[in-house]
Amino acid sequence: MPTLKILRNATAENDLEQRVESDVSVVTERPWNVIAWNDPVTPMTVVVAVFKRVFGYSNNKCTHLMLTVHHEGRAIVWSGQRERAESYCVKLQVAGLQSSVERDG
């Protein structure tokens, strides 16, 4: 029954295509941003130290992010999957920085 075999293969390929499409749709979801907010009392050196500890960024990147927070009132310090964004947000709050998560866009 070669015809039936071909049909079965075609069905399997369709399944594979659907799975690939499903994966692609997850990847293209809008990321979640971790926002660090400015406040009038926190020393700048503390902000840099916390960013280095929590994210493992370089000193230059942490200083740049800290200055963005200082001058613009807020900065996106990390973007990605929601669960990780919340986890990073909690780590910043545990270290005493004002932070929140929001969906990109």
Binding site: V41, R53, E86, S87, Q93, S100, V101
Partner: protein, 143 residues
């Protein structure tokens, strides 16, 4: 040149150079953070539990529990090591986190949410804030 209140040693530990008065201030601050985390009526309780995702009515309970647990663990570790002259990296980080939480809670509880509000704060309150900022400035320099 003023001596730093905290200094990183070659062996990786952090030396605490606070005198008895300084340690007394730190003890009071750590105790307040612990109390604020546990007592919903404490004036710092709200500032210790800010929203994680302001667009949601309720935050993920696991995230809020993790925050509560980590904040309390840091404050307890800091409190237990109050009399130590040398702190490990983790202990020093617990001190820094707890001092910073206390600084922000002091500001929030007193409505200091802008530079203008900070400038118009009472001298006593400003003194307290400046002391915590000095502790934090020196300690953050060790990381």
């Amino acid at each position: 040149m003023a001596t730093k209140l905290f200094a990183r040693r070659r062996d990786g530990r952090i030396e605490v150079r606070l005198n008895d008065v300084g340690r007394g201030v730190v003890r009071e601050v750590f105790a307040h953070v612990l109390a604020g985390e546990r007592d919903p009526e404490h004036e710092w309780h709200l500032s210790l539990n800010p929203p994680i995702n302001p667009s949601d009515d309720d935050d993920d309970p696991l995230s809020t529990l993790a925050r509560q647990s980590e904040t309390a663990s840091n404050a307890e570790l800091a409190f237990m090591t109050l009399q130590e002259q040398y702190l490990t990296d983790s202990e020093a980080w617990a001190w820094l986190s707890t001092l910073q939480v206390a600084l922000r809670s002091t500001a929030v509880a007193n409505g200091i949410l802008s530079d203008e509000k900070l400038e118009s704060a009472s001298p006593e309150l400003l003194d307290g804030i400046h002391i915590l900022q000095q502790f934090l400035f020196d300690l953050a320099g060790c990381f």
